[in-house]
Symmetry: C2
Subunit: 234 residues, 2 copies
């Protein structure tokens, strides 16, 4: 069945968070004459994301949006990397590294092309303010932004996928999740959404040959949004 | 203080609901060979909106989104105008008249101009699916769509204005509501938002000289978004 709506994961799928965060950390280091292994810092920062989110999902800590989670994990990393102490405004500014990240090269064009044929919306764990900044910076045009924050649940909780479908008044079967991560796609598939796996072999900075097994079990496989648009006839 | 965010009311302020709904009703009438005073039908349909919304706001009836309210008031109007009976699909199709309405002529351009300088978001009682369709049809580019549906409250409940500010992480004082209706603007002003009154003398189809008293008490007064953009230096 032709989908009516495409929902897009954002971090990794559309934007290159790693290059963006490393660049922001380097700029911070230069401005404040601080040295550290910023690539490792960025990787550790991203690695802190899933466990901190899972604590919210399990109810161990009350709801916090992604800005707040990034900010909390930053405090730990600053100690680990012996950077700082930073004042409040500096911590906020540094956490906002996650608000302006470069899109993968084909994303703005591919998204525009897909938008001519389908309703396109984000479905990201990033909070709304963060997503608004990201989309403005990378010139990504969505019809709607959906955030974990809109539902009080983080992906892969079902409330996120089903919540987006309900707000768009479209059945899950006519909605497709576009993402670069198997766990996200598997959760959507289990709820009856269509799925498209986007290969982003550079997401973690270690260019690797594409492993076709990653895309197994999903409806589409593409190396970017232009390729997905071609496959969907857009 | 310069605002960071502009929030826009939609019906009446950005789109000419009356012309759009009359046109859709007329097309329906011609397709089904039904005659009625479609202009009066459209006015009655709009007039049913505030009381039906107020029943939700008072808790007399459970939460219903605007599509559902439009659909419920349509049933009453079909009887009043002796149109029908219509089947389910026809009622849905007719209610979707509210999903594709023409924007006032300067809106798409003015909004684009304001977006270069400010974060622009809708803040409408229209549900998300409705707003997505409206914006696609009229080519309106927002950074985010906020709906009563996002907050479980209809304007002018404070949860809507403050909810949008919170999700954009911007204080009320740095947010401006742009609207063509005094009650909407007065509610926003009471919460500390900046306000811009947009004159839409044709909203109810009876062209009238502009009454300057309508704009009294608000920060800006403009006869459209291009004029507002000029005044805000955008």
């Amino acid at each position: 069945m032709t989908p009516a709506v495409l929902l897009f994961d954002v971090f990794g799928t559309l934007v290159d968070w790693r290059s963006g965060v490393i660049a922001a950390l380097r700029a911070f280091g230069e401005a404040h004459d601080v040295r550290a292994d910023w690539a490792a810092f960025a990787d550790d920062w991203r690695a802190a994301y899933a466990p901190s989110m899972d604590r919210v999902r399990r109810g161990d800590i009350p709801w916090m949006n992604l800005d707040a989670l990034h900010r909390a994990s930053l405090a730990v990393l600053l100690e680990r990397y012996a950077v700082g102490p930073l004042d409040d405004a500096q911590c906020t500014a540094l956490s906002h590294a996650w608000h302006t990240l470069p899109a993968w090269p084909e994303v703005a064009g591919g998204l525009g092309r897909l938008r001519e044929r389908f309703i396109v919306a984000s479905l990201s764990n990033g909070n709304i303010a963060l997503q608004v900044d990201l989309c403005r910076a990378a010139d990504l045009r969505f019809d709607m932004l959906f955030s974990a924050e809109s539902f009080g649940h983080y992906k892969p909780d079902p409330q996120t996928y089903l919540g987006a479908c309900a707000l768009l008044a479209v059945p899950a079967a006519r909605t497709m999740l576009v993402a670069a991560h198997r766990d996200d796609l598997a959760a959507a598939k289990a709820l009856g959404l269509q799925t498209a796996f986007i290969a982003r072999p550079l997401e973690y900075g270690r260019p690797a040959a594409f492993d076709a097994a990653l895309a197994e079990g999903f409806d589409y496989f593409a190396d970017g949004l232009e390729s997905l648009a071609r496959q969907l006839g857009a």
